[in-house]
């Protein structure tokens, strides 16, 4: 299948195999495609056996941090007499990222199966799938799928007839980027303002409702049934020979100034240059790529020299000065003004700051004002130093990393496109604006 375009021969379709396939959405169709076989097998294993397989597979968190999933699950102590919870983070709101949306739209049962296996593996009887409020269609499809699975006895008080309880519930967010941060998500789920919490205590000790909790991204959980079906070795082999730390397939969302935007699934370690030019079709006609933000808007911006030499896995992106993050790849071409786009990103973070920490509340707001002033042709050379100084005060000093995420693109922008900043300041106007638009 493929959505919105046919798959490229160099893709490896695991999670995205049924994107665009309407027959895969319902329970019957999903079962015909091998659905819930892994859950049945999982419920016949011990939780520790499942954790071991996931550990061996090398699966790492797909939400941004890349923490090893099996290790995270192993922090949940069995037999502590407390209720355990699994939270599925479906608050996909990192600019550039839209992969979880497609998993939920086309293969909602894949996610439910992953949630059910994950719950059982960590000793939880309840899983909440927290979906951002704007995702009306994924919300609807997940709600329907949960009702179907419950009515068929796949999940519920007697999951697959095993006598084990696995409840999965959909919880709708209400518009807040920060609720994708795991501790903010838990606060929001509890009916509070979505302010991130100070760690420790870590969620595995005291998470949602004060109980041991694991939070996993949609894509992470959706990968688990495939790992159980095909084995850890199968998953582990999808990696660069010289880098066993990143394994499996990865969904990449591609957007911005590129010929074929959309989601692509490739094995870890795929060459970024081939990806951008071959799979995604290169820049729009008559344009050239100028910059790539490879992992969602919170990671350092790459110039093309860096991007074209990068390999698409956790370590490969770090080696070229950025991060894999949520693999939401924003491509910017030579017709775009970097100052304007970085100012727009800063405005995003200022809007989304929960305002709990001073460095973030003040820093994102002032950085935005200064960036917009420069973009309007009213900046001074001193502003560049001020921005970097504000950025330093915003980094590593707050409860969560939203503040850092605002500072990152500004710092990499000034470092790599200083000429564009200076042209705005010296020319007292944006050089990219046409006379008519100015």
């Amino acid at each position: 299948m493929g959505y919105p375009h046919a798959p490229h021969p160099r893709e490896t379709l695991v999670l995205s195999k049924y994107f665009g396939d309407r027959d895969a959405i319902g329970l019957d169709g999903w079962r015909k495609r091998g659905g819930y076989v892994a859950l049945e097998r999982a419920l016949g294993m011990t939780p520790a056996e499942i954790v071991t397989i996931v550990k061996d597979s090398g699966l790492r968190g797909r939400g941004g941090a890349g923490f090893p999933t099996g290790l995270k699950w192993s922090f949940m102590k069995p037999g502590d007499g407390k209720p355990h919870y699994l939270c599925c983070n479906a608050d996909e709101s990192e600019p550039g990222t839209f992969k979880d949306r497609e998993i939920m739209r086309w293969t909602p049962h894949a996610l439910i199966e992953g949630c059910a296996i994950g719950s059982y593996a960590i000793g939880a009887e309840t899983c909440y799938i927290y979906i951002r409020g704007e995702f009306t269609e994924p919300l609807e499809r997940m709600e329907v799928a949960v009702r179907e699975a419950r009515a068929a006895g796949v999940i519920g008080p007697n999951a697959m007839g095993t006598g084990k309880r696995v409840d999965v519930w959909v919880h709708k967010g209400a518009g807040a980027y920060i609720c994708g941060e795991e501790t903010a998500l838990m606060n929001s789920l509890e009916g509070r303002r979505g302010n991130p919490r100070i760690k420790p205590p870590f969620p595995a000790v005291a998470g949602v409702f004060g109980q041991p909790t694991t939070i996993n991204n949609v894509e992470t959980l959706a990968a688990v049934p495939h790992i159980l079906n095909n084995g850890a070795d199968w998953y582990k082999k999808m990696a660069r020979p010289d880098n066993p730390k990143s394994t499996g397939t990865k969904l990449w969302s591609v957007c911005g100034n590129i010929a074929r935007p959309g989601n692509y699934e490739v094995e870890m370690g795929f060459p970024f240059k081939d990806f951008l030019y071959d799979l995604c079709g290169g820049p729009p006609p008559g344009r050239k790529f100028k910059a790539v933000i490879p992992g969602g808007s919170s990671v350092p911006i790459m110039n093309m020299e860096e991007a074209e030499a990068a390999l698409m896995d956790y370590e490969g992106m770090v080696a070229k000065g950025s991060m894999l993050g949520s693999a939401g790849c924003i491509v910017i071409d030579d017709a775009q003004c970097m100052v304007k786009q970085i100012a727009r990103l800063a405005r995003f973070y200022a809007h989304e700051s929960c305002a709990q920490c001073t460095q973030c509340r003040e820093g994102t707001a002032w950085a935005t004002k200064i960036m917009e002033r420069i973009e309007a042709g009213e900046g001074t050379m001193d502003d560049l130093g001020t921005l970097l100084e504000i950025g330093e005060n915003m980094t590593g000093k707050t409860i969560c990393v939203l503040s850092d995420s605002c500072a990152v693109p500004i710092a990499s922008g000034i470092q790599k496109w200083r000429d564009e900043f200076e042209a705005h300041i010296k020319g007292k106007r944006c050089p990219f604006r046409t006379a008519a638009a100015a």
Partner: protein
């Protein structure tokens, strides 16, 4: 830990009485959580270990039924979940999707964050402002039909520019498509 009823129960009731006058807009508040809605809420409460966890869903029900989240509506939600109205308002004001005042019949949200911005989202916003006759962001058109706002990343960046009209999610909107989209709204 849920805020106990004792912390604000009395206040909640008195506030609800005041709120029913709804002085800002002159409309009395008809209770939302009766009949079918009450059943839905009760079912929802079985999913969570605390009543407070049903706050966001309860506010969604209120907004779906009334079009926005009024002070009196918040007081009712506080009452049914044993919270204080002040607490509920604190939560409402954190999230962007709860309308704290009435909006147009069609609430139009256009994504303008960077991935859409580089694909011309600002032109889409301007087309909506022009063709709805709203003129300005956040201002409801004179006929009460439209409110247009810019929204931060809708999470459909590969389909620039995504637009939400109420709960309809529309992909790949260009300025040229705007007049047709609006003409379909009655």
């Amino acid at each position: 830990m849920a805020i106990s009823k004792e912390m604000g129960g009395t206040h909640a009731e008195s506030h609800a009485t005041h709120g029913s006058a709804e002085h800002a807009h002159g409309e009395p508040h008809e209770p939302v959580f009766v009949g079918e809605r009450r059943k839905q809420l009760d079912e929802l409460l079985t999913r969570y270990p605390t009543k407070m966890a049903a706050l966001l869903p309860a506010l969604w029900m209120l907004q779906e039924d009334r079009g926005w989240v009024s002070e009196a509506g918040m007081a009712e939600v506080a009452e049914v979940l044993s919270l204080t109205p002040a607490y509920v308002k604190g939560v409402v004001t954190f999230y962007t999707m709860y309308h704290q005042h009435p909006v147009g019949k069609y609430f139009i949200q256009v994504c303008t964050t960077s991935p859409c911005n580089v694909c011309g989202a600002e032109d889409v916003v301007n087309a909506f402002l022009k063709h709805t006759k709203c003129g300005e962001l956040g201002v409801t058109s004179e006929d009460g039909r439209f409110t247009v706002i810019e929204v931060e990343c809708l999470g459909a960046c590969g389909f620039a520019t995504p637009v939400m009209i109420n709960s309809d999610f529309i992909e790949s909107v260009t300025p040229e498509k705007v007049p047709d989209l609006i003409s379909k709204l009655t």
